[in-house]
């Protein structure tokens, strides 16, 4: 276990370093990229731009700029170029909204995928399975911005069943949930289709395993055979997928949903930053995501080892 933690920590550091270098490097090679001009404003003179460039260190070599930026990030002093706001504070303030969006959505899509995948597998080839297949393909292929827009049009504009975008903090749980139901649904739809198909095929592979036959030969009921033996042994791939998908969503990958529903989460902030080619928020966002990917990757491995005793944690 110690070995596992040490090795995972080392690889996390390596990954974060590589991520930061690559993201920072991208802006070196973007052709018309000039942060000093952006900061100085639309009507700035050439001299002002140069002064700004000098003040922010844009005239220094790549590695010096990189070192300075990283230092600012880790001392929590880094500011974005657009609004001159402290980036770390922004992430801190916005993370609550992202958690509110992503955690219930994750639970929703996991439960729905297990339920629908199981129904498909148990009714393989029949109407229910075929109908779910069509729904899964729809879910996977509908762009989330379209789904979100259609839902808003139908349920918040044409009929006012749900509020028209916006976010309410969890201190008012009823309004909080009321505002988030549509966003949760949008995020879940995307994953449910894919997850339920993967689970279905795992389940169908598992049904023909010898130990499932043993379970039936023991005199267990169909439900016991399915839940304790078939389903239990089919969950592993789903867990790995879930760890990584959930991590990227926490890191801001829910940005489309946050944007459309106007939820002030980290994804919305990152989306704005990308639009403005604003390096510090993009860099922090990338590191933020990479951190969660490493963390949840390790968590998935631990869970894996708990679920399957044949797997040892070796890092």
């Amino acid at each position: 276990m110690t070995r596992f933690v040490v090795r995972r920590t080392l690889s996390a550091i390596a990954l974060l370093f590589a991520t930061s270098v690559v993201v920072f490097g991208i802006f070196e090679v973007i052709p018309s990229y000039n942060p000093a001009r952006a900061i100085a404003g639309r009507n700035a003179t050439q001299t002002t731009v140069q002064e700004v460039a000098h003040k922010f260190g844009f005239d220094k070599p790549f590695y010096v700029q990189y070192a300075n930026t990283m230092k600012l990030i880790f001392t929590g002093q880094v500011i974005d170029y657009q609004d001159q706001l402290n980036v770390v504070d922004q992430f801190r303030q916005r993370f609550g909204a992202t958690l509110s969006l992503v955690i219930p959505a994750g639970i929703l899509w996991l439960l729905a995928a297990v339920l629908l995948g199981s129904i498909s597998a148990l009714r393989v080839g029949r109407m229910a399975d075929r109908a779910l297949m069509v729904l899964a393909i729809l879910g996977v292929s509908i762009p989330i911005f379209l789904l979100a827009a259609v839902l808003l049009y139908l349920l918040a504009f044409k009929t006012t069943i749900f509020p028209n975008t916006g976010y309410v903090g969890i201190s008012d749980p009823v309004q909080w949930a009321y505002h988030l139901i549509l966003p949760w649904f949008c995020i879940a739809v995307l994953s449910v289709g894919f997850y339920s198909r993967v689970l279905r095929s795992n389940l169908l592979d598992m049904v023909n395993q010898d130990f499932v036959r043993t379970a039936r030969a023991k005199g267990l009921s169909r439900r016991q055979v399915f839940v304790r033996h078939v389903l239990r042994n089919s969950l592993m791939p789903i867990i790995t997928m879930f760890g990584l998908d959930f991590a990227t969503l926490l890191g801001g990958a829910a940005l489309v949903t946050e944007f459309v529903f106007n939820i002030p989460g980290v994804g919305q902030y990152e989306a704005q930053a990308i639009g403005n080619l604003d390096v510090p928020p993009i860099l922090v966002g990338s590191l933020f995501t990479a951190f969660f990917v490493v963390l949840f990757g390790a968590a998935a491995d631990v869970l894996y080892a708990l679920l399957d005793p044949r797997i040892r944690l070796t890092g």
């Binding site: 010898d210 130990f211 043993t214 379970a215 023991k218 009921s221 005793p309």
Partner: protein, 347 residues
């Protein structure tokens, strides 16, 4: 012999596949008494496993079709409801499978898997069931049973896993124990130990055992009666001595001839039956063994009935049109049973 446990009559199993109807089992009949070991022998695909799995309802499915009857005491198994079968499985008929590593759930502790079976049929506490599981594991010769009950199957050796399977199968003292090639995946020393466990069971006289195998050496060691299956049909059945000393069907000769024997000079080449087992989707007309049989003649185009052809042995049945005297003469060619069927002549 003890009381009659199981009576199978004209059992038919077919599977509807995309290429057509596959007749896996075609008219198998046999009985099993308490304290008796009946061996079902045959090549892969002869229908022996399907026969025994059908008794437990494990071959049921949307594409399976069944015929005939199988009575456990006064209960019919073939048409039984799933709930009824659920009560019978594991409690009255238990099964040991061929491959003990894939037949145990990889993610559950061995003790818990035995507990699961006990608690599926009896309303007792987990702790009490675990005590019984440990006791069973000890009985089948698993050392340190208390600790081993907490281990997972991958932490067991092949022989220990099969012992755990046997412990599981015996956990509710079933009256019928089905062993489907229980020693095939094990090396010979472990095989001998596992066979001892099964013989032990027979000696107690509690259960009847159906032993499915393709290993005639094992059959000679353990069986009271033998069914020889080929292409979904029983081609010969009788007592162990009848089958081994006076085999009537050329296929049985071939099987016996392809076994090496310690008490005879080994042949230069181990005789084998030429050809392939028949496809059950489009089986040969008449006797299924006809295309491979060196003794086939025109009458073999009709299916020979499975019947007694020896006045002195009314329980010895076979499916071959040849006259008994003719058979006895032919099978002794080259002085050795089996070579006649194998078509090999040793100079």
């Amino acid at each position: 012999m003890g009381e009659r446990l199981l009576e199978v009559e004209d059992l038919q199993v077919s599977f509807v596949t995309e290429e057509g109807v596959l007749r896996a089992v075609d008219g198998v009949s046999f009985t099993l008494d308490r304290g008796e070991v009946v061996a079902i022998v045959g090549e892969s695909g002869s229908g022996k496993s399907v026969t025994v799995m059908t008794l437990m309802g494990l071959t049921r499915g949307p594409n399976s079709r069944f015929g005939g009857t199988a009575r456990l005491g006064d209960r019919e198994l073939i048409g039984a409801s799933e709930q009824e079968l659920q009560r019978i499985r594991g409690k009255e008929i238990a099964m040991i499978f061929q491959d003990p590593i894939s037949s145990l759930s990889p993610v559950h502790r061995v003790g818990d898997q035995i507990v699961e079976q006990i608690r599926a049929h009896e309303d007792i506490s987990k702790a009490a069931a675990l005590d019984r599981a440990v006791e069973l594991m000890r009985r089948v010769g698993i050392p340190h049973a208390e600790q081993r009950a907490r281990a997972f199957p991958h932490e067991f050796s092949g022989g220990m896993r099969q012992r755990a399977m046997i412990a599981m199968a015996l956990s509710l003292s079933p009256s019928v124990l089905i062993a489907d090639e229980p020693t095939t995946a094990l090396d010979v020393t472990i095989q001998a130990q596992i066979l001892e466990e099964i013989k032990e069971l027979r000696a107690h006289g509690d259960a009847g055992v159906i032993f499915v195998t393709h290993d005639l050496g094992v059959v000679a060691d353990i069986a009271d009666r033998v069914l020889v299956m080929y292409g979904g049909r029983v081609v010969e059945q009788g007592t162990l001595d009848e089958i081994f000393y006076d085999p009537q069907h050329p296929y049985t000769w071939g099987l016996l001839g392809s076994v090496t024997r310690m008490d005879r000079e080994p042949p230069r080449r181990l005789p084998a039956i030429p050809g392939q087992p028949p496809s059950l989707l489009s089986p040969p007309e008449g006797c299924h063994f006809r295309p491979r049989c060196p003794h086939a003649f025109d009458r073999c185009i009709e299916v020979p009935p499975l019947e007694a052809r020896l006045p002195e042995a009314p329980g010895h049945l076979d499916r071959c049109w040849l006259e008994v005297a003719d058979k006895r003469a032919r099978r002794e060619v080259a002085g050795r049973i089996g070579l006649a069927a194998a078509g090999t002549v040793i100079a």
